[in-house]
């Protein structure tokens, strides 16, 4: 009985994992280039809002509305992250304060626009988000088929693809080498002729794209509309996944799956005997508690990019 439950839980857990993995990969690019991005939460909100809005508005014109929504969310994330880039890189703001302000700004801006467009503090519900599908052939494999290939959201595969692409770019290409140098020792990179500010812009904008995509994925697969609480801390959980995953794409994949499962657990708890007695709030708290525990075990041991969070001043030596 419990095994059956596990099989049922898998696709749901993968659904919850996808946005976390995508956003955490975005954070990876940003931090590896040297910019701490606390604003992932806000970027996800912007992506979610844009994704939901575009989907609702295009619903009646095209069956692929939700996919346009994903694209729109990605682009909106890029635009929003420009603010963080300008503040942190050009204007030398404290990256944590700037990120925190952007999170609040995102919340205010998205609900403000909901009021303007939909005359309520949320978007109108859309009828069709991203649809589940089954991979032909593979979905018939016993056990594995039901876990990974049957009635699954394609967004999970997008996330996996991004993990592989990230690994390749960061570790195998000259661009990745230079970006990592900017995050570890920007003065060294500069002395080799690398334009540190440009690299960091790249890192932040990619985090905007992936975070925006992650937010859009979240609302278009797990929800029917965008509200102020749609993201409820998932951006920070993604940040924790980054630490948990030691700033490595495959580590991030593992951490994202872990958090996805813990979120899915709250839906299946009543069916699991020894968990059924616990109050609903326990499961709401669980992901956040696990995040703290994860940081506890991994904060001391794992070391992020050495120069992440430090203001790079090309005038100093």
């Amino acid at each position: 009985m419990t095994f059956e439950l596990l099989l049922q839980m898998f696709p749901i857990a993968l659904m919850f994992s996808a946005p976390i993995i995508l956003t955490a990969l975005g954070g990876l690019f940003s931090e590896r280039s040297g910019v701490v991005n606390i604003a992932l939460e806000g970027i996800m909100m912007i992506g979610a809002f844009t994704g939901a809005t575009v989907t609702v508005l295009l619903e009646n014109s095209t069956p692929a509305a939700a996919w346009y929504g994903l694209l729109a969310g990605l682009l909106a994330g890029v635009v929003f992250s420009v603010l963080h880039a300008v503040a942190s890189i050009n204007l030398k703001a404290d990256q944590v304060i700037s990120g925190t302000a952007l999170n609040i700004l995102a919340g205010g801006l998205t609900v403000y626009l909901c009021q303007i467009i939909f005359h309520q503090q949320r978007t109108r519900a859309f009828s069709n988000g991203i649809q589940k599908f089954s991979v032909p052939g593979l979905s018939d494999i016993p056990v594995l088929g039901r876990m990974f290939f049957k009635e699954i959201y394609p967004t999970f595969y997008i996330a996996i693809a991004m993990v592989l692409i990230t690994w390749f770019v960061v570790y195998k290409t000259p661009l990745g080498l230079r970006m990592r140098a900017c995050g570890e020792h920007p003065q060294a990179a500069a002395s080799m002729g690398i334009h540190v500010a440009k690299m960091r812009y790249f890192g932040v904008l990619v985090s905007g794209a992936l975070g925006g995509l992650g937010g859009a994925v979240m609302v278009l697969t797990a929800d029917i509309q965008y509200t102020l609480v749609s993201i409820h801390g998932t951006g920070f959980i993604s940040l924790a996944s980054l630490v948990f995953g030691k700033w490595n794409p495959f580590g991030v994949l593992g951490a994202g799956l872990f958090f996805g499962f813990s979120t899915a657990l709250s839906f299946y708890a009543k069916d699991i005997k020894f968990l059924a007695g616990l109050p609903a709030e326990f499961f709401y708290i669980l992901p956040y508690l696990l995040t703290i525990i994860a940081l506890l075990f991994f904060a001391g041991k794992s070391v992020g990019p050495k120069a992440a969070g430090e203001i790079y001043d090309s005038g100093k030596r």
Binding site: K172, T173, P174, L177, R178, R180, A181, E184, H185, Q187, A188, A189, A190, S191, M192, G193, I194, K306, R317
Partner: protein, 514 residues
């Protein structure tokens, strides 16, 4: 006379200071040209301009006769100019090869071709005699290998004009020798070398020409063979300089600090100090010398209480302080002038007055019932400023950050001496200071010695150790490998001990108990 590089009438300003004031420098091809000056004289700035890290506010640069504008390091590299920095610019968790190819990576399509990169690195390293392991990570290799990587970075880019910025600060005497040989070999292979330094001995050993800067201005350019060290020092400082502190013979008394069989772990979890024993008596200066990273830091931290020890005893007079807190040790008479004045010695965002009371801010008269007594704090600060001639813009209210390095150090020295500890641990007290400040601090150390204090002087500057100490202990790989009289030893002997090639234990003086 064909000059390969000419820097003509260069001027460079930073906020509040003119770092280079109308400097003209002409470098001959295939020579070793030294740039001499104190800290802050402007030599690093000038070379940074040549390497494209800064832009001059006035003047021009010519390379191989043609006027050029070096707007960034890429342009400098394309002109064949390369720089080995004083503080290495190496990414600690990249490999040797990755650091060398950064920015110029050989590639097959979108992927870095690491194989061909490693081959080229091996080729160049063999050609110039610079032994490195292409696959090793920077954080795992020795300092002198790291320096070779810095040199290879330039040679990989076909640099012909190599700038060395204070290259010997981190090397043993033997390694310095090796570096000099490498420089001569590079010149034989057709390179031109610019050597930034304040070490006169090295200039005499290897340079052909020397240009002297002082406070941003050009003092003169002299042929090294015809100029002696005294003359160069005078040009550098502007007056006659005495290199040796005046001191009478030491009159050592009772043993005040004894360390027995000390074992301390370092940050990597290995033993940084092994079974170490040492003794310092009242009225003497024991100098501790060794290459950076051989256990000095761990030893000092163990004595002062910043690190827990594995085993052993540390006696201050007759009390074992090995497990006491920092506060308890300072209260018992242990004083400490830390290695990094900005990181450990001062709170830069506090005022001078607040920094003076950092050990005893909670005691009378500075505080009563937990409330600070601003008047008493001010009076104390003014007294110390007077006695120790600490200079600052706004007196006791100056933020420590705004003070010059020399005065910051004077403030720390003032604070620590004023507490009159019996045992003084003094680490790198004159790092980054000009000759005047160095003279002053050495004088005060000797003065404290003559008042009967026991002083452990830890320094990476051999000259300082040899000049100020009465006895010298050499630390290598966490152990004391030699204890000698300062007057009886030579730099060569110390160098051999520092690199582990020689052991020489002077018979320990009889401990004299009260």
């Amino acid at each position: 006379m064909s000059y390969i590089v000419e820097m003509l009438h260069i001027t460079k300003d930073f906020p509040g200071i003119r770092a280079n004031d109308d400097i003209t420098l002409q470098i001959e091809e295939k020579s070793i040209h030294a740039l001499l000056g104190e800290n802050g004289a402007g030599k690093s700035t000038l070379m940074s301009i040549l390497f494209g890290l800064y832009q001059p506010d006035g003047g021009s640069i010519r390379v191989r006769g043609k006027e050029v504008k070096i707007s960034d390091p890429n342009v400098a590299t394309s002109l064949g100019i390369g720089m080995v920095h004083q503080h290495f610019k190496l990414v600690h968790n990249f490999t040797v090869t990755e650091n060398i190819i950064l920015g110029m990576e050989p590639h097959k399509g979108p992927v870095i071709d690491i194989r061909s990169a490693e081959n080229k690195v091996e080729e160049i390293s063999k050609l110039y005699g610079l032994a490195v392991d292409p696959r090793a990570k920077i954080e795992d290799i020795s300092v002198s290998m790291q320096q070779r990587v810095e040199i290879l970075k330039m040679l990989f880019r076909d640099a012909e004009i190599l700038i060395f910025d204070e290259p010997t600060a981190v090397l043993t005497p033997q390694e310095i020798h090796e570096l000099m040989q490498i420089m001569r070999r590079l010149v034989e292979e057709g390179k031109t070398i610019l050597l930034i330094t304040h070490k006169l001995k090295e200039i005499k050993e290897v340079a052909d020409v020397c240009t002297v800067l002082r406070r941003g201005k050009l003092v003169g350019t002299v042929p090294v063979a015809d100029t002696d060290e005294e003359r160069m020092a005078e040009m550098m400082v502007g007056r006659q300089v005495s290199f040796h502190v005046e001191k009478g013979p030491a009159k050592p008394g009772e043993e005040l600090l004894r360390i027995e069989n000390l074992n301390v772990k370092n940050v990597k979890g290995l033993l940084g100090v092994r079974n170490l024993s040492l003794s310092v008596r009242a009225g003497e200066v024991l100098g501790l010398c060794g290459i950076d990273g051989n256990g000095q830091t761990e030893l000092v931290q163990a004595i002062t209480g910043l690190t827990k020890i594995e085993s052993g005893k540390i006696f201050l007079r007759n009390i074992n302080i090995a497990n006491l807190s920092i506060k308890e040790r300072t209260d018992l008479g242990l004083g400490h002038i830390p290695e990094d004045r900005q990181k450990h010695g001062l709170v830069l965002d506090f005022t001078l007055g607040e920094n003076f009371i950092i050990h005893n801010y909670y005691e009378k008269p500075f505080a009563n019932w937990g409330i600070l007594n601003k008047k008493a704090i001010l009076e104390n600060a003014e007294r110390l400023i007077r006695e120790f001639d600490v200079r600052s813009g706004q007196g006791a209210m100056t933020p420590a950050r705004a003070m010059s390095g020399g005065n910051q150090q004077k403030a720390i020295v003032a604070r620590e001496i004023d507490r009159s500890p019996d045992v003084f641990i003094v680490v790198q007290p004159t790092r980054g200071l000009d000759v005047g400040a160095i003279e002053y601090i050495h004088k005060r150390i000797i003065a404290e010695r003559d008042r009967g204090k026991a002083i452990l002087l830890v320094s990476l500057e051999l000259d300082e150790i040899m000049d100020v100490s009465d006895r010298i202990a050499v630390i290598y790989n966490g152990e004391i490998v030699g204890i000698v009289d300062a007057a009886a030893t030579t730099e060569n002997e110390l160098g051999l001990m520092m690199s582990g090639a020689l052991r020489k234990m002077h018979t320990a003086p009889q401990a004299v108990h009260a």
